[in-house]
């Protein structure tokens, strides 16, 4: 029977400290649990060995959070702009929706359909596509027509994302450099002397292992 040596993972730091780094950078509507999870996962991946690395880990988590926020805003902006642009495009076709009533009531129905289209509700998506087809317009064409109207905003957000990504990558390199100065590397977990545990294995098929 051959004993296999299985390296015991190095002890992780306790779940990332939130002080003395101040409160999490959350704005209205953001989930603190999700932020904490991100911080814990970054911390688990980097396994900071000293206070400086903890500071840099917190930086990475904060910057990553901001990048996610900006990307979310960009996607929501595109969806919201397309929804807004659809309404005037569909207004001339509203008679074909089969709704009756005053102008106000039909406009309110149209708004509701477009709002549900923005939320990707199946019945609303189908209705909008049917209406667009009746006017010889495809959904992709409608989107392509509306995107240029907000290209400046999209570019601004993309620029902010790019700046944040550069800072995050620079922070990761700083951890590497700091560890190199202390004789370690960041991504490979260290297996230290004396941290092995013996795992007994059974011999296969009655034959003794060599």
């Amino acid at each position: 029977m051959k004993a296999k040596l299985k390296p015991r993972p190095t002890s992780k730091r306790a779940s990332a400290r939130l002080t003395p780094f101040g409160p999490p950078p959350l704005v209205l509507g953001e989930d603190e649990g999700a932020y904490n999870e991100l911080l814990i996962r970054v911390s688990a991946a980097v396994q900071p060995a000293d206070m400086i690395e903890e500071i840099l880990v917190r930086d990475i988590a904060d910057i990553d959070w901001e990048i996610c926020r900006l990307r979310r805003v960009k996607v929501n902006l595109i969806n919201a702009t397309v929804s807004q642009g659809l309404e005037p495009a569909l207004r001339p076709l509203v008679d074909e929706m089969g709704s009756h009533g005053s102008d106000e009531e039909r406009l309110a129905t149209l708004e509701s359909v477009v709002a549900n289209w923005g939320r990707r509700k199946r019945h609303a998506v189908a209705k909008v596509e049917r209406l667009l087809r009746s006017g010889d317009i495809g959904t992709d064409e409608a989107i392509a027509y509306l995107i240029p109207q907000m290209i400046d905003l999209i570019e601004r957000i993309d620029h902010l994302v790019a700046v944040s990504e550069v800072r995050r990558n620079a922070t990761v390199r700083e951890i590497d450099r700091h560890r190199a100065a202390a004789g370690q590397t960041v991504r490979r977990p260290q297996i230290e002397e004396g941290e092995y545990q013996v795992v007994e294995t059974k011999a296969a098929g009655g034959k003794e292992a060599a």
Binding site: F21, V27, D50, I52, H178, A181
Partner: protein, 189 residues
Amino acid sequence: MTSASKIRANQLNAKASTGPKTAKGRARSAQNALGHGLSLPVHADPVLSEQVEMLARQIAGPGAVGDIQYLAGVVAEAQIDLQRVRTARHHLLSHALADSYYERVRDSLDKLKCFRRAIPILLRPDPPAILERLIERYLVSTPQGPFKFVTILSEESRHLLAMDRYERRAMSRRKFAIRALDEARHRKA
């Protein structure tokens, strides 16, 4: 040797600067950076000063003296300064996002003009109901969701840009302070 005409041209160009010209305007402008307090050194605030000391002790580790202690203090100061800038930026964004009535200054002025024009129509004996509703909807409408966020980025771009400059400087100071500390530890080892 600069010629007299060149000197005169330089003096005239300097007068054409876009900054404030009166003493009162210049005095007000000098206070701009103090509004958010980011240009003040960290040690000017006793609370931040204490945080710097605590963090410096954690960075330096037990038993650290001399160079290591000093350099740990420099890292801590840069980190607390960076934290201060990020907190200020976060407050700016949070406050604006939480404001239900946040909108561009230009939009507020446009609404005021629209309201002034609408008053004579609304004061008629029998104004159209749909017009009343549309005007009301327009006047109380403010950017929502992602539009609100990009409106904030737009309207506050000057402040956000200034904070970004402070943040870059603080990050740079921290980076070089960490390198100096690592170098000092390496020399001692």
